[in-house]
Symmetry: C2
Subunit: 443 residues, 2 copies
């Protein structure tokens, strides 16, 4: 994409309404604009990141055997009366009356809705286990929305729902999602520490929050120091196979063996880690898993015929990932004073191509040619072809935070080289166009 | 995907609530389930089609130079007061009051919202032209929702918005979208005839509806007989280039040269086609384009500095495609008594693999092996590995409507062949596995 044609409204000054880095940088880098309190529009650059994050989440759900569906945003209130949660949710639920005076609501989550769909479709234990997920916009009418997309009112969430015949099956489904979550966050370069958590309005007695440590996190968390050294990217594929039921349990046991708790649950008197060793930090919750058994299936009559023909209420769990929030969390974990530093797996473009002298015919020809060759080689590239000052171009590219910058100037054009700046390390090297293309092809 | 594991709740009998073929077949084929009046959940099979339709729409928008953004579903009422449309929209607008008693609404369209975003970002004529689109759920509180996803309340729409300095530019932007629409529908195998249309609550004085002829269409349309013979798939790439401004105008003139009108506009007294030649038919509106000039930019102060520094209000147009409705329209145009007949470009899977004897070890081994080889060759395949009767399997596969069925039975296994049934023609042929794989690879 040529920057001269891209809809990318950059902002030079820090917007006064933004208190944390991700909110500030998403506004400045032209990723989002506020529509009203806690509600945002995603501009082209932001949407590219949102989609990459969404796609990683989707791939790991699919890999874990979950099947994608899409439930609507607007639900009938009666559905929530069936489960008994309609009044529990309080003012966070956006309640709506339609033209025929029917009570509706904008879904904050979908346990009731998916239970109805499943109940009406599946009649026999032979059709179990199943896991259905969707990636859809949700609404929670926060009393004080803040921190940009980190605590918005309209937000994109992936929520999965598992259905099993018995507790052992449900526990296996829980473990599958648990490992899928570790993989999902690891692919984005995030260390998301699973912590035992309160179940809140979802219910049940087993739940983990996945917390990314960051200074601007809104929860206080207490973790064993060994978590910080753990290898989060080492996963054994045997976990995926049905035979891997034990391996999966072992993996979950490993990643939950050390102490980690949010302040809601942390009790210094009972904490097994000595106070001088315990790490106290701030965390951003990026996902949560729940096992709640028959909490919804019983009141809603979601049963199957068991092996002996008896009616068995479904054992269920639900599993959420804050997709739009993750974009903010990624920036909180990856930025410096100059701007964002995207991990490659979620970067909106792989390369930022800068032509230092847009007015120079030779530079323009070299930059145009490289732009075409990069695209032909399957490299996603944002090309700053604007007639701006060198300083403005460097500042814009650092702010946007693409993994590598390829800089074309008169000296390099004469020598047949380009300069490559690695955004995270700041390291600059000269290299030939051929070497650059060979290294980046397909990225 | 193995059918034994797929969440695909098929229904044998025609559901009594469904009046038209697409609604009936989408329910029966397990594509959708109703949540409440005019609001649907998309199950795995339906979502696959919805995404393929969405992706074709996206690719043709991108090809036409439009840039994708994503605006929220919930908008502040004040935005619509700025344009003066808040009261115009009547009861079709779903109005919402949030916890702080602020008036909000679920967007039925986004002219106001995109105008605000653009107004705050773009200050100079040098940044024009631009076209921003998004694919997002909308809500129109229809008094009588019906026909399944064809006239739902919550529906997925692609809406694009063009911004230009002058009328000539805006007309060019209109023509670009017009041709993008012809391409979009042609890729889905649909003949969508552009007809001059009323502008309704969007406004402006130039508008076309794109109507697919189908018996169950809700509009009565009157078209020149030559439209039925026109080659809708012949497009000249020169239209895409900036130099192609004239070619684009010629193309639009060609496709609008013949008489075509909806009953809203049709006047028998003024119709240039003799009554005995005029084709009277039913049409399904799948898209609409609007040029409305400064209708929104003037009241909302969306201006840029022109070449001489003067303030120029933006010339705008908007362009909608009913993405979820298209799934219904495609079925209306492609079905028979046995079920759906998907065009290849939007089929949820390319191939349905049927193992006639799930209990026979040799058949199962042959079918399992072919399933793996097809997937390895990049063919999307739904594999009916269930232990059901032959009749039930054939009926299910015809209902689902995948382009080709590959049938494995004892006779073929012995002879080293498979039987291939073409869903549309009903033609059956025997062929070797190698020939099948060579023909289908990558589809």
């Amino acid at each position: 994409m040529r920057l001269s044609q891209y809809f990318l409204p950059l902002i030079r000054e820090n917007p006064s309404e933004a208190q944390i880095a991700s909110h500030r940088l998403m506004l400045r880098a032209g990723m989002i604009r506020q529509s009203s309190a806690g509600i945002y529009s995603w501009l082209p650059l932001g949407l590219r990141v949102l989609k990459r994050v969404e796609q990683i989440v989707r791939e790991e759900q699919d890999r874990a055997g979950a099947q994608e569906i899409l439930m609507p945003t607007i639900q009938p209130a009666d559905l929530w009366r069936e489960s008994g949660r309609y009044d529990d949710y309080g003012k966070e639920m956006l309640r709506i009356t339609d033209r025929h005076d029917r009570e509706m609501l904008y879904g904050p989550t979908n346990e009731e809705q998916v239970t109805t769909i499943f109940r009406d479709a599946i009649k026999s234990y032979r059709d179990l286990p199943k896991n259905l997920y969707h990636i859809q916009w949700k609404f929670r009418d926060e009393v004080r929305p803040r921190f940009g997309v980190m605590r918005g009112r309209e937000f994109l969430m992936k929520d999965a729902y598992s259905f099993d015949l018995d507790q052992a099956g449900a526990r296996h489904a829980y473990n599958k999602m648990f490992v899928a979550y570790l993989r999902t966050f690891a692919r984005m370069g995030l260390k998301a520490i699973p912590m035992r958590a309160e179940t809140g309005p979802i219910g049940g007695d087993l739940s983990h929050e996945f917390q990314v440590l960051a200074e601007t996190g809104e929860s206080e968390v207490f973790v064993h120091p060994d978590y910080l050294e753990m290898d989060w990217e080492k996963f054994d594929d045997s976990w995926d196979r049905e035979e891997g039921r034990d391996a999966l349990g072992t993996a979950v046991a490993h990643f939950t063996s050390l102490y980690a708790a949010t302040s809601d649950i942390h009790d210094p008197a009972k904490c097994p880690v000595p106070a001088d060793k315990l790490v106290t930090a701030r965390g951003i919750e990026v996902g949560q898993t729940f096992y709640f058994g028959t909490k919804y299936s019983k009141p809603m009559g979601a049963v199957v015929a068991g092996p002996n023909g008896e009616e068995v209420p479904l054992e269920m769990g639900s599993y959420g990932i804050g997709v739009s929030r993750l974009v903010g969390a990624l920036i909180e974990a990856n930025h410096d004073d100059n701007g964002i530093i995207w991990p490659e797996s979620v970067a909106p473009f792989r390369v930022g191509l800068i032509n230092l002298r847009a007015s120079d015919a030779k530079c323009r020809a070299a930059a145009d040619a490289l732009y075409d060759r990069l695209r032909t080689a399957g490299v996603s590239v944002l090309y700053d072809d604007r007639d701006e000052s060198t300083g403005a171009k460097f500042a814009a590219m650092d702010l946007i935070g693409l993994p590598e910058q390829v800089i074309i100037g008169p000296r390099g054009v004469a020598a047949g080289t380009v300069e490559v700046k690695h955004r995270r390390s700041g390291e600059r090297t000269d290299c030939s166009v051929e070497n650059l293309l060979a290294r980046l092809a397909g990225k």
